[in-house]
């Protein structure tokens, strides 16, 4: 900033108990282009004039033996009351005095006698520092306003998970005042039963290095001061300040969003039920016709009806898949765990697929190395899962055979479904069991909605079982369901 005459002069108050000195300083200041708004010769006088005239800067003598308030005490009072920078002038530059000056956060220090240029440099430096302080404070204020007026709850916590700051939206959301939370554990807003689970989740969020908003965001249940619980989504990011690690949490109430999601799944469920009715009706009609109930059919009529039957059956599968996914997403899949004879599961699967597979010219073989083995599972869901895997093998295999091979190893049963189909490219493996198959237009979606294996995985997960795949393009696929045997490791299964 260039100093020109147009710029308003800085207004300075001079305080010295010796009038000769203060007059000299006043002259120097005016020579240098400052405006002296007055002089005081006591600490009390200085405070009063500072109050009355609000100068830009005060030049203050430290030692004023005749006054009630010396320079240090007067500065202290001015600092508390007014926001005016003080520069001390003293004849003694002793350590003690320098220390006292520092304690009252003086903006400068001049040892008498001094030259005009020293005076000017000290004053300019003090005014510059004052302006910097002001800017810093304003920027801090702006930040505070930003945080405080944010719609979303913003809180910071330290490495020990204690709350450091808590904005106004957080006060509103959790109904705790900021002062009630500072220093308290973050988990105070989470129901106790979820503490451990959430801690694990938060550790994961912190440890991940990827800057992916999805990874840095999670959902949980929070509780307000009055104990009311609500679904909460929050993001968690870490930062380091002077060697200490802090976390910023931005949280929002997602009750409304959850409601909409629920409505969507309910809608899917309702529509699926309503779609099932006509498809089941058409299937029944065709069944009756093919069974001769409507009279004898000619060969071409049978071909047409069989085609209609296939299509209806496929539609029926797709609707079932959508229904199952809707149930999985809503978390309403009921699982009734009991010891299940593996052979019974295999029999049902055989009955369902034997005709279709053999009609396609494929061989269908089922081997069970331990016919008496029982698994701990939900029978219907296991049948559904194995059926889905076999159904895939059936859809993709045009020649050769489909084999189901069962064996037990240790506490586990392995159900392998092996086909001689085209095989699956390695690149598809990560997506096979995901629910976004349909969106990707994946080559592995054929005559279905691509949700079959997702359902398999989800059903198996609920039974403490899992599925893996081995496959190579050109040499078929092998899907292996791994499921605990009954009676051997029940404790592991308890959910």
């Amino acid at each position: 900033m260039a100093e020109t005459k147009d710029i308003p002069k800085h207004r300075i108050l001079v305080v010295d108990d010796e009038t000769i000195v203060s007059d000299q300083i006043k002259d120097s200041l005016e020579r240098l282009g400052y405006e002296v708004i007055g002089t005081a010769n006591t600490g009390e006088g200085a405070v009063q004039m500072a109050r009355d005239y609000l100068p830009d800067l005060i030049l203050m003598d430290i030692k004023m033996p005749r006054a009630e308030l010396d320079g240090i005490s007067a500065s202290q009072r001015i600092k508390e009351e007014l926001d005016i920078p003080v520069v001390f002038i003293t004849a003694f530059g002793g350590d003690q005095i320098i220390e006292q000056a520092r304690d009252v956060e003086a903006f400068g220090f001049l040892v008498k006698p001094f030259q005009d240029n020293e005076l000017r440099a000290t004053i300019e430096f003090a005014l510059y520092r004052k302006e910097m302080d002001q800017r810093l404070r304003e920027s801090e204020q702006k930040y505070r306003i930003l945080v405080d007026t944010a719609v979303e709850a913003i809180l910071t916590i330290d490495i020990h998970m204690h709350i450091v700051s808590w904005n106004r939206a957080a006060e509103h959301l959790f109904e705790y005042k900021s002062e009630e939370t500072t220093g308290q554990p973050f988990m105070m807003i989470i129901p106790e039963r979820l503490h451990r689970e959430l801690q694990v989740e938060m550790d994961r969020m912190v440890l991940t290095e990827e800057w992916d908003p999805n990874i840095k965001t999670t959902q949980t249940t929070a509780c307000r001061k009055d104990g009311e619980e609500f679904p909460l989504e929050f993001s968690l990011t870490s930062w380091i300040f002077k060697d200490d690690i802090f976390f910023t949490i931005i949280a929002r109430d997602i009750t409304e969003r959850k409601k909409v999601e629920q409505m969507k799944t309910d809608f899917v469920s309702l529509v699926s039920h309503q779609l099932r009715t006509p498809v089941a009706g058409v299937l029944g009609c065709i069944d009756n016709m093919l069974n001769g109930i409507t009279g004898k059919l000619e060969a071409p009529q049978i071909d047409y009806l069989k085609m209609m039957h296939d299509i209806s059956k496929r539609n029926y599968h797709i609707i079932n898949d959508l229904l199952n996914v809707s149930r999985i997403e809503r978390g309403v899949v009921s699982i009734n765990m009991a010891p299940v004879l593996l052979n019974e599961v295999l029999q049902v699967v055989e009955r369902r697929f034997k005709d279709d597979i053999e009609n396609k010219g494929l061989k269908f073989q089922i081997e069970n190395a331990h016919p008496k083995s029982k698994v701990y599972a939900d029978k219907d869901k296991l049948i559904e899962a194995v059926s889905n895997v076999v159904h895939n093998a059936y859809k993709f295999t045009d020649s050769g055979d489909i084999r189901i091979h069962c064996k037990t190893v240790g506490n586990l049963a392995f159900i392998e479904v092996v086909d001689t189909g085209p095989g699956i490219p390695q690149g598809e493996f990560p997506h096979l069991f995901s629910r976004d198959q349909i969106l990707r237009g994946a080559p592995t979606v054929k005559g279905g909605c691509g949700l079959g294996l997702y359902i398999v995985r989800e059903f198996l997960k609920l039974m403490n079982a899992e599925i893996t795949v081995q496959s190579k393009v050109g040499s078929g696929s092998r899907f292996t369901v791994e499921i605990p045997l009954a009676g051997k490791n029940r404790s592991k299964i308890k959910s």
């Binding site: 006509p278 498809v279 089941a280 299937l283 029944g284 009609c285 009734n336």
Partner: protein
Amino acid sequence: MAEPSGLKVIIVEDEPVFRLIYKGVLENAGYKVLEAEDGVKGLEMIKNEKPDVVLLDLILPRMGGYEVLKKLREDKQLSSIPVIILSVLGGEENVEKAMELGVVHYRVKGDSSPTNILNTIQTLLEEK
């Protein structure tokens, strides 16, 4: 195999297509089939006709399937008539609820073919 002629089946079902299908397969096998398109009519018909088997849908106008079941169980003269549920709804909770009300079989339309239903009825009546 039991001789079906003369054996009476009541279908309580609001969807005409399912009445057509089950009536078709049952009449073809020699059963006498009566139809009701809502729960109230169905209950009335069961009281008057005392059928050998009832095929009952769950979602019905005027009176739902579960309500019909409860009323049948409360009536000593009717409580022994075997009921097979035919619903488009699967789901364990529905099956369990129906079984608690004394249903002998629960079949999901579309999962079970008409022939399958026919076999179920025949087996049931043979056991009787």
